[in-house]
Assembly symmetry: C2
Homo-oligomer: 472 residues x 2
C-alpha cells in the first residue's frame, strides 16, 4: 500500500547564473532577434499555470528558422545555460517557467506551412504554426487537421506535450497524428525522425519519444502531421442531462458500443451557467454533452439514432442540432469558452486544472466522487471533459496569493489523481507533467520507469540544458 | 547525394564465450526449464529469415512467468551473457539468431490471457499468447483484436517488432494498439509502462519506445492491447485487375477518398498462380485486390459502392463477395498462404522479403519499377502488399547456398529500398530491422538519429546483453 499522495509541490526556483560572455555571444549572433527587455522576458516566463512567482528568463531569442534554433541551442550547450522552447504560451503546467534560469527560445515566428500533400494526406509545418492557422491553410483542399486542445496552440507545443482535446476520441492524439519530426538535439544538431510513410518498423520510435517530452529531449523545429478528408456530413448536438452521472453513463455506452463519435464533451451545470454569463448564451443550466458526428449522411444518421436512444434512457433531453458550420460554431462556443468563463467567474483568480484520464468504465465513479468531494469542500470550480476518452478537467478556482486556499485545492487535486491511479488511469491525459505533476508522475510510473526516463534524459541531454526541472 | 546503398550485409558472427559458471547457475535456477539439447538450441537459433549459418544459442530457458524472465536476465547481466527473447520464431529478419552467442529466452509458455475487460475494450495478455489464441479467447465477447501479420505470431513478438499486416489500414499497427507493457529491464527489474487509460501525457512514452525495440531494450512480459467491437456487418471481396498498376491506382484512390476500408491487400498474377497450386484454388491468375469492409450494413454497402466504382474505372472485374465467416476464410486463404505458396514454388528455397512502405501517392511508381526490375533480372518472386498502407513485399526466392544468386537478389533488394527512401518512405513497414536491414536503417534515419538510438541503447542496456547486434 502506497502512502497517500502528497499535493503537487511548488517549483523550487534555483536559477543558474547566466555568464555575461553567453549573453554577448547571443547578442552577436542574433542581434534584434534577441531581447533582454523585461516586458518581453516576463511575457515568456509565465504561462496559464498557477505559478506566478518565478523570475523570468535572462533573454528571449526569436528563431526564424532551424539554423537559428540550432545555433541558439549550441550556444546554450557551450555555456551550459538552460533553454526553454516557447510556442504561444498556452501551457497549463508551468512548462515555460525558467525555474533554473536560462533563456526562452521563441519559435512562434517559425510559422510557415511548408507543404501540404493532399495526395498523401499529410502536411509539413514549422513548429509555430497554430492548429487554426493550419486549418486555414487547408481551406479548399477538402482536408482538415482534427486535434483541438481548446487553445489555439502551436503544433510544436502540441507535439511537445502530446496534446489532444476534442476530436481525439475519433482521430487520436498528437501521439497518433505526428508522422515525423525535425528536432534540434542538445548538441545543436538537426535530427530527423520518422518518414512520410504511414507506418514503419525502422528502429526505435524517436518520433513518439519526442512527442510528449516537453522540450526536455530536443527542440522541435518541424512537424509532419496526418490530415483527414473533410467528412461528407457533420452534425453537432447538445443534450442536457439530469446529472453529471447520467451524461457520463451515456458516454460510456456510446464508447462501449463502438459508435465512431467525433467529439463527446461534458460540461456540468455550474460550468454552463458560467459560460452563459461569459458568452451571453441561453443554454439549459444542467449537465450537458456536446457531441459531433462525422461520416456519410446515412452514417451520421445512424450514429445519431443510436446516441439518441442511449441518451433518452439516461434522461437526456433538450436536444439541439446544428449542421451548418455557423450553427456548429455557435454550439461549440460553450465548450471553447469554458476555461476563460471559469476564470472570469472569479476576477483575479487562477485555475488549477486536473487532467486525469481513466479507463472508460471507471469514468462515472471517478467524476462523481470528484464532484462530491469538491462540493463538500466548498470550493469554486468548473468541470469539463473529453469524456469519450475518459479524460476530464476540474478547474479549481483560487486566489494565487491565498496559501490556505491553495493548500486545500492541492489536496483535492491530489485526491483526484489518487483516485484515477487506483482506477487504472493516468494523472494527465493531455496537459503533460511540467512542474505541477512531477510527484504524480513518480507515483504513476513507479521507480523503475522513472529511472528509465532519467537514463534517457541523461543520454540525450547530458548537460541538462533542455528545459531542466520539468517532468522530473 | 548519397552513395548507392550497399546490399544488406551478412551477419557477422562473433559469439562471446558463455562461462561454465553461468550455465551451472542457469541449470540450478531453472532445472528442466533449461535445455542445452542441440535440437532445442537449433530450433531456437533460426527463424524465417535467410540466415541459416549461425551457430545456435548455448542454452534455451523456458520462462513460465515474469519472475523467471527477471531471474534469467539478471543471471545474464551478472555473467555478461547475451539474451534473446523468443516467441514463436516467425521473425523474417534474423531477430532470433545468436550472432553474439548467449541464450534464447523462450516465453511461449507464458501464454495466459490475464484479463479481458469488455467494458474498457482492452485485454491484458502474457507475451506468448498468439493473436489467434487471443481472438479465440474473445469469442462470445463481441470483441476482436485486429492486428494480423499473417503468421500466428505471439503478441510479445508482435509488440517487439511493431508488427501490423492486414487490418492496419483501418485499425493501426502495434504502435497504436499497445496501451501498456510490463518489461524486464537489462538489470532484471520488472518495469511497467503506460496505463489502462486510452491516452496519457505522463512523461516519456516508454511504451512506444519498447514497441519496435526488437528485444534490445527489455524483455516484454505482459502486453495490454486495445480491442474493438465486432463490426455489425463484414463483407470480403476479391477483384481482379488487368495489371498490378491498375490495382494499386484503385487502392490509392480508395485511401485518398477516406473510405474506411478494413483490409486492402494486393497479390500479383504470378503469386495468385502459386497460391492456386498450393491451396487448390481457382482464382483468376491476374493482379488482384483482396478487400474487407467493416461497419453497419448500410455503411458497408456505401463503402462497397464507392470501391466498385473506382475499381471499374481501372478495369477491375470478376468481383467475388463473401459475407459469412466461412466464405470469408476461403477468400482470405489466398492471402494467408502466399508466403508458403511462394516458398513451395521452388523446393529448398528461402525468401528474401522486402518490406518498404511509401506515402500512398508514390505506391504505384514504387511497385511498378520494382516489378519491372525483378522481371528484367529474371529472378523468381512473389508479390503481396498491404497496399492500403503503402506497404508491399517482394519475396525473392533464392537458394541460400548460391552466393551469386544471393548477390543478385540483395542488389535488387537494395534497389527497392533506395527507391522507397527517395520517395519519402521507409525500409521496413512491419518486419523490423533485425540483422538484415541495419545498413538500410542507417541510410534511412541518418547519423544523428542513429546516434540518438545508440545513446538510448547504451543508457538502458549498458552491458549490451539484450539481443545484441540487432538493429545497429
Amino acid at each position: 500500500m502506497n502512502a497517500p499522495l502528497t499535493p503537487a509541490e511548488l517549483p523550487v526556483v534555483a536559477q543558474r547564473p547566466v555568464p555575461p560572455a553567453f549573453l554577448d555571444a547571443l547578442q552577436a549572433r542574433f542581434g534584434a532577434q534577441c531581447s533582454t527587455a523585461m516586458a518581453v522576458r516576463e511575457q515568456h516566463g509565465r504561462d496559464e499555470s498557477v505559478f506566478v512567482h518565478v523570475p523570468p528568463p535572462a533573454a528571449v531569442v526569436f528563431a526564424h528558422n532551424t539554423q537559428d534554433v540550432a545555433d541558439a541551442v549550441a550556444l546554450c550547450q557551450t555555456h551550459q545555460v538552460p533553454v526553454i522552447p516557447f510556442g504561444v504560451g498556452s501551457s497549463l503546467e508551468g512548462h515555460l517557467l525558467a525555474t533554473q534560469g536560462g533563456i526562452s527560445l521563441d519559435v512562434s515566428r517559425m510559422d510557415k506551412v511548408l507543404s501540404i500533400e493532399p495526395e498523401n494526406l499529410i502536411a509539413r509545418v514549422q513548429p509555430g504554426v497554430t492548429r487554426k492557422a493550419l486549418n486555414e491553410a487547408l481551406r479548399g483542399e477538402g482536408l482538415f487537421f482534427p486535434i483541438d486542445p481548446g487553445a489555439d496552440a502551436s503544433l510544436g507545443g502540441m507535439a511537445a506535450t502530446r496534446a489532444s482535446g476534442t476530436n481525439a476520441v475519433r482521430y487520436g492524439t498528437m501521439r497518433d497524428n505526428v508522422l515525423a519530426l525535425e528536432v534540434v538535439t542538445a548538441a545543436g544538431k538537426v535530427m530527423r525522425t520518422g518518414t512520410a510513410a504511414r507506418k514503419s518498423s525502422a528502429g526505435y520510435d524517436l518520433t513518439r519519444l519526442m512527442v510528449g517530452s516537453e522540450g526536455t529531449l530536443g527542440v522541435i523545429t518541424e512537424v509532419t502531421v496526418k490530415l483527414y478528408p473533410l467528412p461528407e456530413a457533420v452534425m453537432a448536438a447538445v443534450c442536457s442531462f439530469p446529472s453529471v452521472e447520467a451524461a457520463v453513463r451515456t458516454t460510456i455506452q456510446i464508447i462501449q458500443l463502438g459508435v465512431p463519435i467525433a467529439r463527446c464533451e461534458l460540461l456540468d451545470g455550474n460550468t454552463v451557467r458560467m459560460v452563459n454569463r461569459y458568452a451571453k448564451l441561453q443554454l439549459p443550466e444542467s449537465a450537458m454533452l456536446l457531441m459531433e458526428f462525422h461520416g456519410s449522411p446515412s452514417g451520421v444518421a445512424e450514429q445519431i439514432e443510436t446516441v439518441k436512444a442511449l441518451a433518452t434512457e439516461w434522461g437526456g433531453a433538450d436536444f439541439s442540432w446544428a449542421d451548418t458550420p455557423e450553427e456548429r460554431s455557435r454550439l461549440w462556443t460553450a465548450r471553447h469558452n469554458a476555461y476563460f468563463a471559469g476564470l472570469q467567474a472569479r476576477p483575479g483568480c487562477r485555475a488549477i486544472s486536473t487532467d486525469t484520464c481513466v479507463p472508460i468504465s471507471q469514468l462515472a465513479e471517478c467524476v462523481t466522487h470528484t464532484v462530491a468531494e469538491a462540493d463538500a469542500a466548498g470550493v469554486q470550480y468548473f468541470l469539463v471533459g473529453h469524456v469519450g476518452d475518459g479524460n476530464f478537467h476540474m478547474g479549481y478556482l483560487m486566489d494565487p496569493n491565498d496559501a490556505a486556499e491553495r493548500e486545500l485545492i492541492e489536496k483535492l487535486n491530489a485526491s483526484v489523481v489518487e483516485r484515477a491511479l487506483s482506477l487504472g488511469g493516468t494523472c494527465t491525459g493531455e496537459h503533460g507533467i511540467g512542474l505541477h505533476k512531477r510527484g504524480f508522475l513518480h507515483r504513476e510510473a513507479g521507480d523503475d520507469a522513472i529511472e528509465a526516463m532519467r537514463a534517457i534524459k541523461q543520454a540525450l541531454d547530458p548537460q541538462g540544458i533542455l528545459n531542466p526541472g520539468k517532468i522530473f
